[in-house]
Subunit: 332 residues, 2 copies
DNA sequence: TTGAAAGCGCTAACAA
DNA sequence: TTGTTAGCGCTTTCAA
């Protein structure tokens, strides 16, 4: 193709990559561009990568794409990366730490120019292995207890605070918190916020915290069954996420307890269709798509060597009040 | 690293790639493997790609990851590809044909070894451009009217048949079909099945077909509003997909019509949480994850030059009867 | 502003 | 069974 333009390949290369060293005359550039167009020429990304040591690809590691919070995040990431000319190599760990390790290793071997990781448990070998790797890395929604990387997520603390305030405002005093798995930062952050807000709003009042085995409907069902079977049950449940809330719904159905008349339930995440379940779930909504975009933007900044401050970005959350919460009944 | 093992680079290469021409002695292989391990050596995929003309990456083109049917498909694809050592480059077109064209072109420029396309409208420039490209291509869930590629999807025909049979069995005769956008093969296939089954079950009886503008809640709401506002409204609605069915739910709420007492509704796809909406939606379930796996398997077969027959694979669907369907009320 | 030459890290073809 | 040589298609360095 350089031939067709009547110039040296190096010149052609420079003409097509304006930011390469060495300015090219307009005349030559025009000839080269024209020749490229006529031949439908596209530079071989592989050869370019080999030379420049840049693969043009970013690895995106997710715990489980079937978890409804992830698709919007991945979309935000993917769109932002494509806009910047970067490809998006998707890797799903199925929530297995060993797979996380293996996939991150594989992505590194493939010379990804950056990594966006949404899988990090509070202890993550994979994330630890990245620390001195020099690979631009951004964590999303989940993070290890200790790490040096930028993090993007929703402002869960504010969400939990709003949720608890809402329940207390409705007159609830016997409120149980159903956490989620304790090896996830999400769980810990939400729980801490719950405790702090509790001390502000109901200092000294006894509170109930139950850990569930996972962020799943089954775990929520199981944990709530014990909680609600006994005497002196709570009048409101704050769930670690919407899945757990749905598990609570199932238990309520089983036990014949009416929501919201006899008990209020609040979720977290505002997954799709949570306005359509019965009763429509009051929950904390997180701008997941924006979280994804922001994470990708941050990665691009790092890659370009731009300063990134602050390194923690918590996007605003909002409590969406629907039909699953109501004033505490006087009967209790 | 070949140095450390005391052999020529080419020998090392052969030792690490057992299926390359030229067998290597066990002794040498052992030495090479050991040296590689000690150095943490991983062959550079870029250099390898340049030499072998294989990028190790497959492009996956989806219309919109936020559409709940897609994540399981993508997961199935992704898992199967990784198992085969192939990366999964994700591209989301946001349902825009121009983006589909641009992204496919970009994926080709990146020398993808294969393409899995879930975006194909009944007319797709992008798919057409692939016809003589030599790039292994598999279509999923959607396909153009005419194309030479393997296709994997759910057996929608069987699903619609079962759905209609179910409604007719419940005594419904005034049944309306709310299609979906007519530029999608999914719509056409489902509608054709509806018509054929109708002729089998209710020959001569008048049937109502309404086209919606999209596979969305809003489109379903809008189309059903006209349909249900008038006199002589249907006693059952078969929706082109679950989103449309949810739109119908909204209309029913607005008009104060009770489902399933006054009207039955059936969806298609069985998206997540359709068992939790109110009333729980009777719908056709499709093994989306398996669809994804099968599509990836097919692509691998093609890539390896294996025969693929049949070239159309329709995976079994099943009608899930829940709470949105009931016998036609005698009152009507 | 452009050309010449070298080389990124591998593996294919050929020779020993 | 192993070594030699060459070259994949770019971009970079150096020289003109």
């Amino acid at each position: 193709m350089a031939e067709l333009a009547g110039v040296h390949p190096a010149t052609a290369s420079r003409a097509l990559n304006p930011d390469l060293p060495g300015r090219i005359s307009e005349e030559t550039t025009r000839k080269v561009v024209e020749a490229a167009r006529r031949l439908g020429y596209r530079p071989d990304p592989t050869a370019r990568s080999l030379r420049t040591r840049r693969s043009g690809v970013v690895g995106v590691v997710v715990p489980d794409l079937l978890n409804p919070v992830l698709p919007p995040i991945v979309r935000g990431i993917e769109e932002t990366l494509w806009e910047a000319g970067l490809g998006c190599l998707l890797a799903d760990t199925d929530n297995r730490p060993d797979r996380e390790t293996a996939l991150v290793e594989e992505l590194r071997a493939r010379r990804c120019e950056g990594l966006i990781i949404a899988t990090a448990a509070r202890q993550s070998e994979a994330v630890a292995s990245l620390i001195d790797s020099g690979i631009p890395t951004v964590l999303v929604t989940r993070e290890p207890d200790d790490h040096p990387f930028p993090f993007v997520g929703g402002d869960d603390e504010a969400g939990v605070e709003a949720a608890l305030e809402h329940l207390v405002g409705l007159g609830h005093r016997r409120i149980a918190y159903l956490t989620g798995p304790t090896d996830l930062s999400t769980t810990v952050r939400r729980l801490m916020a719950f405790r702090q807000m509790w001390e502000r709003l109901l200092p000294g009042v006894r509170r109930t915290v139950v850990h569930t085995e996972g962020f799943t409907v089954a775990a929520g069902r199981k944990a709530s069954l014990d909680l609600l079977s006994g005497e002196d049950r709570p009048t409101a449940i704050l769930a670690g996420n919407d899945m757990i809330a749905l598990g609570v719904y199932e238990t309520l159905q089983t036990l014949g307890i009416d929501c919201p008349r006899e008990i209020s339930v609040v979720g977290h995440n505002d997954m799709p269709f949570m306005d359509q379940v019965h009763p429509p779930l009051t929950t904390v909504t997180i701008p997941q798509y924006e979280v994804g975009r922001e994470a990708a933007r941050l990665l691009l900044d790092i890659r370009e060597g731009r300063e990134v401050t602050p390194t923690r970005r918590l996007l605003p959350t909002r409590l969406v009040v629907r039909g699953s919460t109501a004033p505490a009944s006087v009967a209790h």
